[in-house]
Subunit: 251 residues, 2 copies
DNA sequence: GGACTTTAATTGTCTGACATTAAATTCACA
DNA sequence: TGTGAATTTAATGTCAGACAATTAAAGTCC
């Protein structure tokens, strides 16, 4: 792990990479303390600020945590599920917002992934998961609800459905799909959305989950996908029509 | 974006967070240049090393890239799909290796996610995807293949199946599931694995994909999951038996 | 023996400097 | 006047040394 070729480019990135490899490769284990910054500087034959930049890179990926004081230092961090969720959501959000992904593609991926959880969730959902879903449906039916609150409740509903599968790895993988698509779908469809229709579909899904009918849950999700795609298409069509009218007015 | 409370803790983390929020919130757009390190230091009223630590944190998340020279600086980076893949795989690998996730849970999640792609892939796979799958199957049947090469080929086969869905968002989400589970499953089952059985199942899946039969692809994946789970159970049982024998020997 | 003080180790931050890079500019020369 | 080489300039990359802040452990006093 010591070696650092005389490659003059980006020493801090090289050092970060060397330490990351040691962690991923198991040569540094969870909660193990790294050498102090001064020792690392000596080992790699660089200055302390350079070592610090490398450590900050690792900290940004939640690979290490630092602690001040006499027995402080940098420690290999156990990547917790909440941290992994957060990273997953951030990455997914950026990927979608920066890469001109079509609504259709994103929506298709989202529902395909959620349907993957449907059979498991129908089989294993606890009373608690059902109660959460029912509560969110009830909230969504409130007339005074803001658009933001409705969307947050929508996310919470789907989250409960996904968590119902009782598989934390699956929940982690779905975090991006469920929570990163939300701003995207919300911004596009909230003007045209028929809340009653969505609440009815949610009701259908919750009923199917209660009856432990996986096929029905899957069907409900598919219906929700169709609804969302049609909504988006109508919004896009209306938008195009407006642009077209404006163009004709201008000519 | 300027504000930095007099909170004395972790200035570089606060600055990184402020800039990250500006990027995620769209106030800084792709390829836009950030102020120079000296200007940022002045704005945030900190020293340049502190600013640099903040920028390295963002660079570690591929949120910015830096360029040296007269017109250089830090630029908001377009998060590319390959970068997102890499982060996804790293995060998934660490999450699994550090959190005592059972084989059963990981395997279940992996196949549930892959089944989510099956109907789409059966419908849309190109001749190219089919050719890749066939080629990998052929390679897997070679007698002299090392275990590592067999596993790499296994990953390539599943990757082709997933990419066949023609949905880059789905491919990104599956990167962790397909590529992070590989070392895990490999290390456990490679001793007991019957390659011929796996090749036969792969053949079944490829045939189903060629016939555009989504249900058959799904069934093939489920069969592969059952095979893998049974294999793992037999390995664990054998391991437990060995331990038990050793314990009795010792007493 | 317990509460308090001191000490030492470590990270966090700052200052100032120099090295390196690459684009823009200037200038000599054809 | 046009072109290519040399210079300038602005930025990041790196370094050295220092001090502040924090925290646990060792030491000390009652």
């Amino acid at each position: 792990m010591k070696i650092d070729p005389r490659n003059p480019a980006d020493l801090s990135a090289q050092i970060a990479s060397a330490i990351r490899d040691a962690i991923v490769g198991g040569r540094l284990i969870v909660d193990q303390r790294l050498p102090s910054e001064a020792e690392l500087a000596e080992q790699f034959e660089v200055s302390r600020p350079t070592v610090r930049e490398a450590l900050k890179r690792l900290a940004a990926q939640s690979l290490i945590r630092t602690q001040r004081g006499a027995t402080g230092g940098a420690f290999v961090n156990r990547l917790s599920f909440p941290e992994a969720y957060y990273q997953q959501i951030t990455t997914s959000t950026l990927l979608l917002s920066m890469n001109a992904v079509s609504f259709e593609t994103a929506c298709e991926a989202r529902y395909a992934l959620e349907r993957a959880c449907a059979p498991l969730s129908a089989e294993r959902r606890t009373a608690d998961h059902l109660a959460t879903m029912r509560a969110e449906i009830h909230r969504q039916a409130q007339p005074g609800l803001t658009d933001e609150a409705f969307c947050a409740s929508d996310v919470a509903f789907h989250r409960a459905l996904v968590d119902g599968a009782g598989n934390p790895v699956l929940s982690y993988q779905l975090a991006g799909a469920v929570e990163a698509m939300q701003p995207l779908m919300n911004m596009i469809t909230f003007t045209a959305r028929d809340r009653a229709r969505i609440v009815a579909l949610h009701q259908e899904i919750a009923d199917a989950a209660e009856a432990q009918d996986g096929a029905a849950v899957t069907a409900g999700l598919s219906a929700l996908e169709v609804e969302t795609q049609e909504l988006a298409q109508s919004v896009f069509a209306a938008r195009a029509a407006r642009l077209d009218a404006k163009a004709r007015l201008g000519s």
